[in-house]
Symmetry: C2
Amino acid sequence: MMAAQNRKEEWLPLIANYVAQHGLGGASLRPLAKAIGTSDRMLIYHFGSKDGLMTELLGFVSAQVMAMLDAAAQGSRAESRHACLVMLGTLMRNPMLRPFLRTWGEMLVEAEGGNALYRDSAQAIVARLDRWIRDHLPEDDPDPDAAAAQILALVEGIGVLDMAGCSDIADRVLAAPLA
Amino acid sequence: MMAAQNRKEEWLPLIANYVAQHGLGGASLRPLAKAIGTSDRMLIYHFGSKDGLMTELLGFVSAQVMAMLDAAAQGSRAESRHACLVMLGTLMRNPMLRPFLRTWGEMLVEAEGGNALYRDSAQAIVARLDRWIRDHLPEDDPDPDAAAAQILALVEGIGVLDMAGCSDIADRVLAAPLA
DNA sequence: AGCGGATTGTAGCAGGTGCTACAAGTGCGT
DNA sequence: ACGCACTTGTAGCACCTGCTACAATCCGCT
């Protein structure tokens, strides 16, 4: 009979894919359900409501991104702050992750709009990135707090520049030396 | 009889204010019209369509932000890259501008979604910021290209961190020394 | 006084939204 | 063979969306 758990786990990647293409806000139940081969009633049946669906989707995507970062981590540390920036920047600009950039932007907009759920998710992702950077900074870095904040902001800024269609400037950020 | 031009100019600030509060996507004609004291039919009458309204609004807001930056410019140059970053960062984090952060985010999301109009506007704003930074960098900066890109990314990254509710990290970015 | 642009009233269209209701099945575990 | 979670069909609710139609005004300009 295939427990609800299974159906959801089967659907979530498809939903994530659909949302990456059509946007978080552009995801309405009927087209989404059709795209992943179900009906809106089934989505409601399993997730309870659209909010429920979004909540689970957010958790799923967050976990996915975090897992990807950890997988690429491998415990190896960068030789310098700049090397660390380039490492994370290159990782995050992977074309496969590009569709999620839009989702990330929509999460931020929702968070800024006051949606606590999205803000919590966004904060969790930022915290995870911060942690990742600290783990890959040279061990002898004199000020990991400052370095992590700086690299984090640079990487996020690169994302913004990419979204704005200014990838040339983003390239320049990665090329520029760091203290 | 008050030319259409006048009505539009009178409405645009109110619309910008409404959009800053309710979001770009959350702005539908009827509630918006009611909030600024008109009817949806009048909005369509003067702007032609919702797209037309959005186009004019985008231009208006862009011009507004650019003018604000120029006004704060005053031709004075920063003494260091870090001073320049702090200058722009403090300017952009002005609480009065905070509502526009959301609009900026929505512009980026739309741009990333493939909307050429929004991408052009976003690019124009980024170009303007880039120019502003170059104009306020120390005259003897050895590599203005790299410095501008870096400061630009840092400021945009700070915006992202603020949206994500991580203003503490954003603070740390401004406090950290720059090369 | 009258012309013409601006505004309002009233009403509607066709489409989409999340969500619900009820009946009729499906197939697996017991 | 029965129960039960799951699935599908068909239909609908109340609401919102951008936009339109048509007539009735208002009001300054000539």
